[in-house]
């Protein structure tokens, strides 16, 4: 697809998302960034997956001042455009509808974002820890800005399964 044709893809995406779009940007021909509101997020994802046939490559969560920003990256394979769907999940509630409830591709990545940032995905079929070890204490979200890079003295907070090996 040529660059001009890729710019036309923006119209397709705008039509699929309709009134849900809060802001829209296509800084390069093959990258689109669309922002939707927190409550409309599952519906917008469903639109991208079902109407446009987008493939969920992965999702990113990152912490900004008053919220956690979620970005779901969809690859529109036939057009060759990466369409990134963003939303801001407000603190302190940090609740958003789960995409993993209807899209198996989002299942694991939502588990990872939940344990690393403390976001609750309402309706997720299997909200267990994915990567963090057994017995990881609640309320410790490693990728948050206030979590130290090298947690000194953190050992003492871990439960006995680690303490007993240290005698």
């Amino acid at each position: 697809m040529t660059d001009e044709e890729k710019y036309m893809v923006a119209d397709k995406v705008k039509k699929a998302l309709g009134a849900l779009i809060v802001s829209f940007d296509q800084p390069r021909p093959n990258r689109i960034y669309a922002v939707v509101a927190q409550d409309d997020f599952p519906e917008a994802n469903r639109a991208l997956f079902e109407k446009l046939g987008g493939r969920l490559a992965t999702s990113t969560a990152l912490e900004v001042r008053d919220a956690v920003e979620l970005i779901y990256h969809y690859m529109l394979e036939t057009e060759g455009v990466l369409c990134n769907l963003k939303t801001l999940v407000a603190k302190p509630g940090l609740k958003v509808g789960s995409i993993g409830a209807f899209l198996p591709a989002a299942d694991w990545i939502e588990r990872e974002m939940a344990e690393m940032y403390g976001v609750t995905f309402v309706g997720h079929p299997d909200p267990r820890h994915l990567l963090l070890p057994d017995g990881w204490p609640d309320g410790n979200y490693p990728y948050r800005c206030d979590y130290p890079q090298k947690p000194d003295g953190f050992e003492e907070q871990l439960p006995d399964v680690y303490q007993k090996d240290r005698k």
């Binding site: 070890p133 490693p142 979590y147």
Partner: protein
């Protein structure tokens, strides 16, 4: 090949312990069995259980989840055993030193469990198979 005869007398049986590796050192260890390097001609065999092993080949950093399992494996190995720490990750933490999930290095963990442990460091990222063989031979000639 220039190997000392002392090394040929001992055919050590090794057990491969991959803690949290990137697999590069593990692939190079398996490369040692393939026709180009072929350590089986020295009698070095990869065994399926630590209880049969003379030496442990440890690769990767020890993250929190794996540390108790590493200690179980060390306790299960019959003493005296040699712990070969292959690669920069096992020897000194490599780029992962200081990560929240990697609180202690492999040698600290083993020495805390057994202060008389015999530990051999073979640095490299990954150490070439020739370096691994050279390291093992050097260690065995000193022991």
């Amino acid at each position: 090949m220039g190997l000392k005869t002392a090394a040929l007398k001992k055919s050590i049986w090794v057990f491969h312990v991959a803690c949290s590796p990137c697999n590069n050192c593990d692939i190079e260890i398996l490369d040692l069995l393939t026709p180009r390097f072929d350590v089986e001609r020295f009698g070095i065999v990869l065994v399926g259980s630590p209880r049969h092993a003379d030496a442990l080949l440890i690769t990767g950093v020890a993250n929190r989840h794996v540390t108790p399992r590493l200690l179980e494996t060390y306790r299960a190995t019959a003493k005296p055993c040699v712990c070969f720490l292959f690669g920069a990750c096992a020897a000194m933490g490599n780029v992962f030193k200081g990560s929240y999930n990697v609180p202690r290095l492999v040698d600290e963990i083993i020495l805390e469990e057994d202060p008389n442990a015999i530990i051999v460091y073979i640095p490299g990222c990954p150490p070439k198979p020739e370096a691994m063989i050279a390291g093992v031979v050097k260690a065995l000639s000193v022991l």
